[in-house]
């Protein structure tokens, strides 16, 4: 078999396999997704008063006192400047554990929770997520925000505690993953008047 024969065989083989995997396989997955899992296959978009306000899988920035806040996000915009929860450019800080910048970053994030003793602040609430788009916080991170949200919304703390309990997801089979609260879903419930 000559080199030339190998070249042609490889080229033809590549084209056939590209059609099979780039074409047929990806259309199969696209079809199954669009037919049977339409909502999630299109990005789990959620609406509020008929307007699409985000994706329940993707975190978004909250800063008003009447909302529960998500984790710090280190994503940047197209200009390289900080733009938290930029779902067009996922990423984290990549600060190493002994980098002084890490301590500075966490310290700055802790300013949002000034009244709370540090030992009570759950670390996930003040340390940047990996994707910069983490939609979840731990239940403890939601609970420590209850006094602020309750005051801003003039609702009882007990009702918010109950709401958080209702929106808490448990680890799968009790073994896999962590207990968590989806911040956007929780805030949507608040916006929809849940008590």
């Amino acid at each position: 078999m000559s080199m030339r024969q190998d070249l042609w065989a490889s080229l033809r083989g590549y084209v056939a396999l590209a059609v099979l995997f780039g074409g047929i396989y990806s259309l199969f997955v696209l079809g199954v997704g669009q037919l049977f899992f339409n909502h999630t296959a299109n990005g789990s978009l959620v609406s509020y008063h008929g307007r699409v306000v985000g994706s329940s899988e993707i975190g978004q920035a909250f800063s008003g006192p009447q909302w529960f806040w998500g984790r710090p996000s280190a994503t940047t915009g197209a200009n390289g400047k900080p733009q938290p929860y930029n779902a067009d450019n996922s990423g984290g800080t990549n600060y190493g554990p002994t980098n002084p910048a890490l301590i500075q970053e966490i310290k700055a994030n802790m300013k949002l929770y000034k009244g709370i003793p540090p030992s009570k602040i759950p670390p996930d609430l003040v340390e940047s997520s990996a994707s910069g788009l983490d939609p979840d916080i731990t239940p403890q991170s939601a609970l420590i925000q209850v006094p602020r949200v309750a005051a801003a919304r003039h609702v009882s703390q007990a009702s918010l505690d109950a709401l958080i309990a209702r929106y808490t997801r448990r680890p799968w089979l009790g073994m896999y993953g962590a207990a968590r609260v989806n911040v956007l879903e929780l805030n949507l419930a608040l916006a929809n008047g849940a008590k």
């Binding site: 078999m1 083989g13 997955v29 696209l30 994706s55 984290g92 554990p97 966490i106 994707s131 979840d136």
Partner: protein, 563 residues
Amino acid sequence: MSAAGVLGILIFLAVLFALAMPMGKYIHNVLENRVHWLRPLEDWILAIIGPAAKKEQTWRQYWRSFIVFNLICMLITYAVLRLDTYLPLSQGVGLGLSPQGPHLAFNTAASFTTNTNWQSYSGETLTYLAQLFLMVLQFITPAFGLVIAAVFIRGLVGRRDTLGNFYADLVRSLVYIFLPVASIGAVVLLALGLPDTFAGPAIVHTLQGAVQQIDRGPVAAFETIKQLGTNGGGFFNANAAHPFENPNPVSNMVLILLMSILSTSLVFTFGAYAKNRKQAIVLAGVTAVLYMAGTAVVYWALVNGNPLIHQALGLSPVSYEGLEVRNGLPGTALFVSTTTAYTTGAINAWHDSLPPLAGGIPLLFMMLNTVFGGKGAGLLNILMFALVTVFVAGLMVGRTPEFLGKRIERKEITLATVAMLIHPIIILAPTAFALVHKVGTSSILNPGFHGLSEVIYAFTSGAANNGSAFAGLSTNTPFYNVSIGLVMLVGRYLSMAAMVAMAGSLAAKRIVPASAGTLATDSWSFAWVYLFVTLIVGALTFFPALALGPIAEHLVMMGGAVK
């Protein structure tokens, strides 16, 4: 470390092995041309390839076909990356994307052709069309590894002149292994909530009224083969930490299973070829011990976290920096160890931000490169170390070195040594250069010992064809793109060439019947020797580098020396 977390990891291991044993047998049947349930598809592709797919090949012919096919893959991918956004179907035109430049495109093409999936770019900067071309390589390149492992096993277990046909092996393993498993896996991931759409990004106005551009795409299709093929190149920059690639703890476990299943199965495929199930169990067992020991260290390090944060700020030391809440600590630890043991390179947390020892295990696994490893490439390394062990043990007890009835002689041990030494050389030499020249050091993000870890991690990841990164290092520079690109190519092809040549030499040998002088290789005492040879040769070579990187940083962190 919680009991539930540990139990979950052990149950995962049991499930993995329960699936890998029958799967290994099935792969054996596929490679021996005994599986034909998709005959029309198989025949169609083989007919397109033509007469080249029909002839039995010697090891040299097989290797030439393999290299030519790899070259075609790399050239086409390079061209697509350079022309991206000018091609039809390119969504990026309106979004201000531009094609990759020459050194970045070289790096990306080399990376995806060698099954490394190192990414000097972020996934969001590619058009859907370019992503599809990369996905095609994510299917083909793990099959490349698999067929090369098949050639080596064939040479090892029988006496023959030819070793099979490259094109037929490639097509059969793709049609009967990768296509069905990926199709099932993709449907499972769709059901678990991964998106798959060719619609562009969603532009939404958030509850607070800000504008958010949410990138989407054919994620489920891409994600499945990225994991199954131990590819690792993310659709998004944050890879499997991105909620669209890995939305919940169930998908997290499915992704871990997908990246571990085939390489684990291949050990049992080897057992089926050798007609010696116990040999496979011994090798898989000792490898699983390494895998679980590493996982335990990562888990332990995550639970103990970062005392500096506690001392400086009074927070709990458990560090969530660079972690996602939903995965939990055990789910993060198992992913971290699996992605580097199996040389996938996907990530569900930033390895750069992990506590030093949790980042050190990935480094160690990639340096060993035998903890199941990538498709085929991992098994080749396991068998290479088995041969070295036979040789060392033979020297110690004065027995003839034999493996599965084949005499291990000068030629084999020379080739094994070449394959073994390439790995440390292509890691340590470029790292040393990068650390003394500003073209290397100017890319380092984190100060101190951690910066050294970043550089050595990059070259280790390239050499092991892993593709994960200590992402603080800015590698999209001409120096890193070209040097890591070359390291990936040498790491992949030179050691494979040595192993295929060895297969040719082994295939020509008579099988010597076992006698009283034969050292049994399917015993647990052999497993112990194998373990220590792997650790001594593999780990000690790199110990000085590890001592200056993660170990030194761990000591600094425990000592609280950083203000």
